[in-house]
């Protein structure tokens, strides 16, 4: 075939394709005439035509998507293709935009999140938000059905009509009101940008794609790299760029970018042609340029919305809107140049992450409380959603701040709100057993947070006790209704033991009463039938607690009895559920048993067995988790006890060797966590013991090392450490 020949072939084929199949044969006969070769060539090509085969059918709009007939394609973007559709059943005149997500997005996760969000999104009914009607799967891809709009992008609208500053601010307020409305419904937009806002012919701005970013955000499933985060860098807040948790303040930042662009007719940052790293630097670090409108108040408002540090921004769209309304009304605005916020900034820089999380939690919880209190159960579904949402946030927050230093005010606020939330739901709970159990768990976790953070503060310990007692009351009620439910019994046992801990160190009679009650509850149940693993664990913990309480009450014989029982129970649990946690508990029980024999009863021989068991378990845990500092420290403690036991039995050489290995492990752990005062105190005790096992200059060296470790310790509050240091000084100066 030659190019010239092909030209003829393709013209005939193209013409033939435009005819329907019936008239084709006649057309071909006429077009090819007597040229049989030409005719054959054309026919083989036409035979390859099979519409619907999918082969390189690149942009043929599908005829129907779900219940919608596709009218035509209206747009194509980074996420996929948008079609104009109509209800196929013709029931009502209903034009919709159908966005089909392109391949390559993580379909399963997107769908999962979509179904999770769909109800919430569908409930967003606001004149400035395009409605989301529906969604589903089409050709293996998710699609969304939305209100169909004809309009002009907001920035172009402002420019074309040459709107004045105040008109632009009013237009913007409609947008920020819509965002605020969504925030009250616990939806962040996450991808607010000028291109996502259309102004209709009537001059009404409409936000597109509300909440869709979250559905498409592979990040929330923790499975993406930055390259695929479907966000527009031009519209990203610093925290969004860094992949940190987003808050209402992140949407405020995006609103700030929009406001700047509307007022200045250009975006504050030009990211064109920057590498991702350069982009990140600009987004996260470079302060927004001053707006330089004629009005410094307006400049301040924009600057505050564009603060890099989320904590310094308006926290909600509502705050931003209020300030703009003050400005429109000629009143003084809240926004001030940043210097006034100096102190807040210092705090916020230190606790950026905690605050970001806290803000999300606060919004979620406040909304939940408000909703539950105001509406009661009027909207049952809504209530269920909020309960789940706020509950999850609360627990995630608890885990997130568990190891964070500082940020106490944020914690206090969250806890207070958390309790308000739980209290208000409790009033609604009357017969809902599932809800009661959930609430009890909520109170337990809050109580633990209170107890954990305010260990030394007796007043707050009372607060923890109050939370625990609410959990106890709820679970007692549930247990009364379901007396044979083992899971409820275990939960009640845990709550009672939590009560016991709040009395430890203060009122041993009270602790003992709670511990005894749990033992009675579960031993009673054991008589009626075998306990579940969970129940056995709780029972083991109860004997644990009782043994310690007895020790504190100087009732050593009772302590030994309780200890032996806890070992026995944990050994039983271990047979049924050989998990690491149980192993660790058992090793601890054995260790404490050995301690009683060694230190209280001065019976070193009896300590040998339990110590060997504890060491065997802990050695196994260290071997399985070589990276775990906790496992190593557990083993170090075993060895330290073991050294004491050997010394008491006269084997000073063996004691020295094993003590040195314990010291080695503890020093290693201290290297990773140099500020751990408890670890330092243990090392001081170890060296004090070691110095006693050595002689001459070796003893002096050990003593000097021990004194080094004591240097940063607060000796006034730790009598044991004081005594150890005293002893070390004497040896060192010998």
């Amino acid at each position: 075939m030659t190019p010239g020949r092909w030209d003829r072939v393709k013209e005939i084929v193209a013409d033939a394709l435009e005819r329907d199949r019936e008239t084709r044969a006649d057309f071909l006969k006429e077009a090819c005439g007597a040229d049989a070769e030409l005719r054959a060539e054309v026919e083989t090509l036409l035979r390859a035509d099979d519409p619907g085969s999918g082969f390189l059918e690149l942009d043929q709009a599908p005829e129907q998507i779900g219940p919608y007939r596709v009218v035509r394609e209206v747009g194509r973007g980074g996420m996929g293709t948008v079609y104009l559709g109509e209800r196929a059943d013709g029931q009502f005149e209903h034009r919709v935009a159908i966005k089909v997500i392109k391949r390559g997005m993580d379909t399963d996760a997107v769908l999962r999140r979509f179904y999770g969000e769909r109800q919430i999104l569908a409930r967003l009914q606001h004149p400035n938000i395009t409605r989301l009607f529906d969604g589903g799967m089409f050709d293996g891809r998710p699609y969304f059905v939305m209100e169909y709009l004809e309009g002009e992008p907001i920035a172009a609208y402002c420019r074309r009509r040459s709107l004045g500053i105040e008109e632009r601010v009013r237009l913007f307020l409609a947008v920020s009101d819509a965002v605020e409305y969504a925030h009250r419904n616990l939806v962040l937009h996450r991808d607010l940008k000028a291109g996502n806002i259309l102004v209709t012919a009537d001059g009404v701005p409409k936000l597109l794609d509300f909440g869709i970013a979250k559905v498409l955000d592979t990040d929330s499933a923790g499975e993406t790299t930055a390259a695929w985060r479907p966000l527009t860098p031009q519209a990203a807040s610093p925290e969004q760029y860094r992949g940190e948790p987003l808050t209402t303040a992140s949407d405020v930042y995006a609103l700030g970018l929009l406001l700047f662009e509307l007022l200045a007719d250009r975006p504050p940052y030009d990211l064109g042609g920057l590498t991702p790293v350069e982009m990140g630097r600009v987004i996260c670090e470079r302060p927004a340029p001053p707006l330089k409108s004629a009005d410094s108040d307006l400049d301040n408002i924009v600057a505050r919305a564009l603060e890099k540090d989320a904590a310094l921004r308006y926290q909600t769209a509502a705050e931003l809107g209020e300030d703009l309304r003050r400005w429109l009304g000629g009143m003084p605005v809240q926004a001030r140049p940043a210097s006034a916020l100096y102190r807040a900034r210092k705090f916020a820089v230190r606790h950026r992450k905690a605050l970001a999380v806290a803000a999300v939690v606060l919004v979620a919880i406040s909304a939940a409380v408000g909703d539950a209190v105001v509406q009661g159960r009027r909207a049952k579904r809504r209530f269920e959603d909020l309960r789940q949402l706020a509950g999850t946030f609360l627990f995630e927050f608890y885990d997130a701040i568990e190891n964070l230093p500082g940020a106490t005010p944020a914690r206090e606020l969250v806890m207070r709100r958390g309790i308000e939330y739980l209290d208000s739901l409790s009033r609604e709970a009357s017969n809902d057993i599932g809800l009661k159990r959930e609430l009890a768990e909520g109170y337990l976790r809050i109580g633990m947070a209170q107890g954990l953070y305010y260990e030394s503060n007796l007043g707050k310990r009372g607060a923890a006790r109050e939370s625990f007692s609410k959990a106890v009351a709820l679970l007692e009620d549930v247990a009364g209704r379901q007396p044979s439910d083992a899971a409820v019994r275990a939960e009640l046992g845990k709550a009672l033991l939590a009560m016991a801990t709040t009395h430890q160190g203060q009122d041993y009679l009270q602790s003992r009463a709670y511990e005894t009650r749990v033992i009675g509850l579960l031993e009673g149940a054991a008589k009626r039938g075998p306990l579940t693993v969970e129940e056995q664990k709780v029972l083991g913990s109860a004997y644990n607690g009782l043994a310690e309480t007895c020790l504190a009450q100087q009732q050593d014989a009772d302590a030994v009895t309780a200890r032996l029982r806890s070992v026995e129970i944990l050994e039983g649990v271990l047979k049924a559920a050989p998990d690491d946690e149980t192993q660790r508990l058992l090793a601890q029980s054995e260790k404490r048993l050995a301690y009683i024999y060694l230190v209280r009863l001065h019976d070193a021989a009896k300590a040998v067995g339990p110590l060997r068991s504890a060491m065997a378990i802990d050695e196994g845990l260290v071997a399985r988790h070589p990276e775990s500092a906790t496992a190593k420290l557990d083993l170090a403690r075993d060895r330290s006890y073991f050294a004491t036991m050997l010394e008491r039995r006269g084997d000073r050489e063996g004691a020295r060797r094993i003590l040195e290995s314990a010291i080695g492990m503890r020093r290693e752990a201290l290297g990773l966590d140099p500020r751990n005062a408890m670890l330092r105190a243990s090392l001081v005790a170890d060296y004090s013991k070691l110095a006693g096992l050595l002689q001459g200059s070796e003893a002096q060296n050990a003593a000097r090392t021990g004194i080094e470790f004591a240097r940063d310790l607060d000796l006034t509050s730790d009598a044991d450490a004081r005594a150890n240091v005293e002893k070390l000084r004497k040896v060192a100066e010998r």
């Binding site: 030659t2 083989t44 090509l45 082969f55 993580d106 592979t218 042609g273």
Partner: protein
């Protein structure tokens, strides 16, 4: 990094050198993207070359500054680039299969994965496309833009300077040619 938007403008203004500067940037971006999506290890990962081209476009050009004509031109360049990327890769793999230069050619696993997701076999498509181009350069270009770049009829028309109706007509026949050759 080079400002792709500015290069594009220079290229459209007739500066041939701008294209040479642009290609390595686009090439790198495509490979980076392919790798990034591979690392995400999504079990239902089904990224296709055309998706990749669009991603590269979204990342390399400031959306605000680019009108749709620029977009079409960029996609056209990216289409050529991805074709080259995929083809180099397919050739390297075939060479390795034959045992030549074993170990010398390190196969790019990201591209391997991308190629598997292509709707048609890259190697045979390329051969068919070469045959078509020899007969009809215009159709060859249309196919390249549409198949490797995911360009719409309108975008292809803009890049090549034809009317959309012409592109549509040429495409309808070119598609049949390829279908027959690949059958």
């Amino acid at each position: 990094m080079a400002d792709v938007g500015a290069l594009l403008t220079r290229w459209q203004g007739g500066d041939k050198g701008a294209l040479d500067e642009m290609l390595p940037v686009v090439y790198d971006e495509l490979r980076k993207l392919a790798r990034a999506c591979l690392h995400s290890e999504r079990p239902d990962f089904s990224l296709q070359p055309t998706d990749l081209v669009h991603e590269a476009y979204l990342r390399l050009l400031d959306q605000r500054e680019v009108d749709w004509r620029n977009r079409a031109h960029f996609l056209g360049i990216a289409a050529k680039t991805i074709r080259r990327v995929l083809l180099n890769h397919a050739e390297a793999r075939n060479a390795q299969k034959r045992g030549g230069d074993l170990g010398k050619v390190s196969l790019d696993i990201a591209l391997e994965c991308l190629e598997r997701n292509a709707t048609v076999d890259v190697f045979s498509l390329n051969r068919a496309l070469e045959r078509l181009s020899a007969l009809d350069a215009r159709q060859g270009e249309i196919v390249e833009l549409r198949v490797f770049g995911g360009l719409t009829v309108e975008e292809t028309a803009e890049v090549l300077g034809f009317s959309p109706a012409t592109v549509k007509r040429e495409w309808s026949v070119a598609r049949l040619f390829l279908k027959r050759e690949l059958a």
